[in-house]
Symmetry: C2
Subunit: 490 residues, 2 copies
């Protein structure tokens, strides 16, 4: 052995997995880390020009005091403490819980056994059955529980599929720009080649299908084995919702080019213009396709989650994906990989069951459930519009409306001085802007450079999740900051 410094680490930046080193994930990057520091400072009494940090960097509704759906928590807590379901406790428990919550918990316990047990690696069969019924009701087409995999949130499902599809570093996956950085991060991790396509900001971040053929042709000419297309609908960070015609074109494109379609549909109930832009699932768009061969051959995987919508139970880590037209042998491989991870956590699985089969008209809990969902929905819509208007009032800022999702992605015209200063500091100009915003207002957003954007234009992504009663204060602070920042840097 050669003589080495015993304090030199075996594992360091030079010896670690280089693919991991390449991963970037801005949603919890530098800005988020600084926000955590400020929170600690505030808790210790240190002075800032604001009294609290507002995390608009991440779609984390309950962190910003969005109330959980009562029925869901009732059922879940009964499953967690089955002593409450014992007959001798019935009279006390029924003072705290409605009958349908108790019945539902009993039913779930019959199929789950215990929330402390490993389940089937693909998810509890009865819960996968519930999901398949939900999909059937939503789309009007059959869905098989055997083709549904429960997951710990949509992210882990997306990662499973992307890693499965990556045969080698030539394997190409088309991803939107701007995109949710899970995609670029995962492709970096698996060593696949991202093949970006652009969403068009001026037309409300719509997807121009005509560009796609050029992009895939060019990538293939350059030797990339393009094999899948990722769509986020409704969009993240862009908030657009695709029309059915647009979806049909995308399906034709994928079918013609022999691409697997990965549809990230986690924001399917966050739809703010339901008349003009209702949500249509890619499963339904595919099954509505007039050509038998397309319906029967296009490989589609659709992802959903309990983290978004009006539910917002992201801390539980639950979700599912449905596979359409996938090779049975590939499904076996997905099952094998699920089994290495043993199973998705049962609390997440239970919430998937409740999301897919909520109280119905006539059920004891229905009115309250409906009221809660509508109240969150209406508030989200109001807040999205208020924030959009605010951004559009700012000098040099333009913001497309959110047709869906939980985000706005305004474009900011940054003065030359900012670009110079940021470059000197080795920062993206939009990161410099966002950091200044955080230090001045306590509002934490994510710089557009974390999602990808056209060269020379700058954005940031902000959720519209802060509590409604704080909204005016929050909007005023942002407006003031922006004015000051522009004056200071002009």
């Amino acid at each position: 052995m050669t003589v080495t410094d015993p304090y030199e680490k075996v594992l360091n930046l030079n010896t670690m997995n280089p693919l991991i080193k390449n991963v970037e994930y801005a949603v919890r990057g530098q800005l988020a880390i600084r926000a955590e520091e400020i929170k600690k400072d505030l808790a210790e009494g240190k002075e800032y020009p604001f009294s609290r940090v507002v995390n608009c960097n991440i779609g984390n509704p309950q962190q910003l005091n969005q109330k959980p759906i009562t029925f869901f928590r009732q059922v879940s807590s009964l499953c967690d403490n089955p002593d409450l379901l014992r007959k001798e406790n019935r009279s006390i428990v029924s003072q705290l819980y409605p009958t349908d919550a108790i019945e539902r918990a009993n039913k779930l316990m019959t199929s789950v056994g215990s929330v402390g047990s490993y389940s089937h690696s693909q998810g509890v069969p009865a819960i996968r059955h519930t999901v398949s019924q939900f999909i059937k009701e939503r789309d009007g087409y059959a869905s098989s529980p055997d083709h549904i995999f429960l997951t710990q949130g949509a992210s882990s499902g997306v990662q499973t599929l992307l890693s499965m599809i990556t045969q080698n570093s030539n394997s190409g996956i088309m991803i939107p720009i701007p995109q949710y950085p899970l995609y670029s991060a995962s492709l970096a991790l698996y060593g696949a080649t991202p093949v970006p396509y652009h969403l068009d900001e001026e037309s409300g971040w719509s997807l121009d299908v005509h560009q796609l053929t050029d992009i895939v042709t060019r990538a293939r000419q350059q030797g990339t084995d393009v094999r899948a297309l990722v769509i986020i609908n409704p969009g993240n960070p862009t908030g657009q919702c695709l029309t059915k015609e647009n979806m049909r074109d995308i399906i034709d494109f994928c079918s013609h080019q022999r691409l697997i379609l990965l549809a990230d549909e986690v924001y399917q109930t966050n739809i703010y213009e339901p008349e003009e832009r209702p949500f249509v699932s890619f499963k339904r768009a595919l099954m509505d396709h007039p050509t038998f061969e397309v319906r029967e051959s296009l490989e589609l995987v659709s992802f959903h989650s309990i983290s978004k919508g009006m539910i917002g139970e992201c801390g539980r880590r639950g979700g599912y994906f449905e596979c359409v037209n996938l090779d049975e042998k590939v499904l076996e491989q997905i099952y094998k990989m699920s089994s290495v991870s043993l199973c998705p956590n049962l609390h997440g699985q239970i919430l998937v069951d409740l999301m897919c089969n909520p109280p119905r008209l006539g059920d004891e809990s229905y009115e309250q459930y409906k009221r809660e969902v509508e109240s969150i929905y209406n508030s989200l819509r109001r807040r999205s519009r208020k924030l959009e208007r605010l951004f559009n009032q700012m000098d040099g800022v333009s913001c497309q409306p959110a047709q869906g999702s939980m985000y706005l992605f305004p474009q900011v015209l940054l003065p030359e001085k900012v670009i110079h200063k940021a470059t000197k500091l080795n920062m993206a100009p939009d990161a410099y802007y966002a950091l200044a915003m955080l230090e001045a207002t306590g509002v934490c957003v994510v710089p557009g450079s974390g999602f990808g954007q056209k060269e020379g234009v700058w954005h940031f992504r902000s959720t519209f999740l802060p509590e409604e009663h704080l909204f005016d204060e929050f909007c005023n602070a942002l407006l003031q900051f922006h004015q000051d920042f522009i004056i200071q840097h002009s």
Copy 2:
């Protein structure tokens, strides 16, 4: 484009990630799949020579009706339904919940906020603090919450570290044979090189440190960049518990050979000979080392979980790992990867808090907690001995006692006829034996070939988790099966 069959899948066994195809995971392999089929058949009234399937293939205590710890479920369910914590419900709720559970839930809610929120990606800071206190009490040495990462079970933590350590396909990781197949599966997935070392069956599966130097030297001569050693203590599937002297030798070996030590310590409370073979953590063994340089330089990661011990909450997916002497820059990379997955589920995190800080002497719930833990522990110990005795009564079977963990790993002398038959069927002989056992008795075990074993000897792994009142029936069925099987194949 070339003309292709439109029904040929884009993603198939030939085009998918070849590393995934190479992954093997026997714990939920062919046997487990057949067991599921039989369960379905039984539910539909089909006749078998037994009335139920007994899953001894996987450490899933609550599936086999082990009762969860009452206090843990009480606190967790209160966190799940914070309405129960409201003042106006106090008088009713206190009929169902002891005061210390209510207080603990209130305390957790203060630091967690909501179980529906994403937490810090590394885990709730207050819960990491609890873990660090637990480690300090256990070992007598300080532990920093900044070096603790909460995970969704130990498996996901192990995978994070193994992927981090794998720089390229030359990166070698020493793993025990027999081993829990998570390790071989993960190394196959990341494309690293397994460097196996053997546990010695005759001496109760002890680890002979002298072989290790030869193995690492030979592997390095062959060009493998050996950089880490995995130890499972107490052992899985082998049940041994290392002596402190043995651990010291392993630490010296790793230090001398510049290897990272990965210590899988999830069975640390499943200790059945506490006088002769108490559990000592590798953290403590390292901190007790007389040489300053070793203490300050050996890179150690230790994994723990809520899934095992007397807790058995594996369906919740919770755990943690502690990093000792790791490069700060590497810790940042681990944090980054944790943040791509957002956070471990909150229900798992809460259970980690409870595991690390259970009721104490003087607390209202202490007596019940103690009674429950002791009852499970004593029963596990009785069952481990009963099953060990049973295996040793069987013709041609020899079984080492379980000093720890939840498994026995008996060796079975299989007649030549079995080996011929199995080879013809393209099966491992021990898989043939285990399948025959399943079909005859409903007992599902895992063939030794799934864990690795010396050439020409055959084993199977069985948990000793079936309920104690079923044990005699279960033991008789196994004894009868083995007799019949041997007669039939001689």
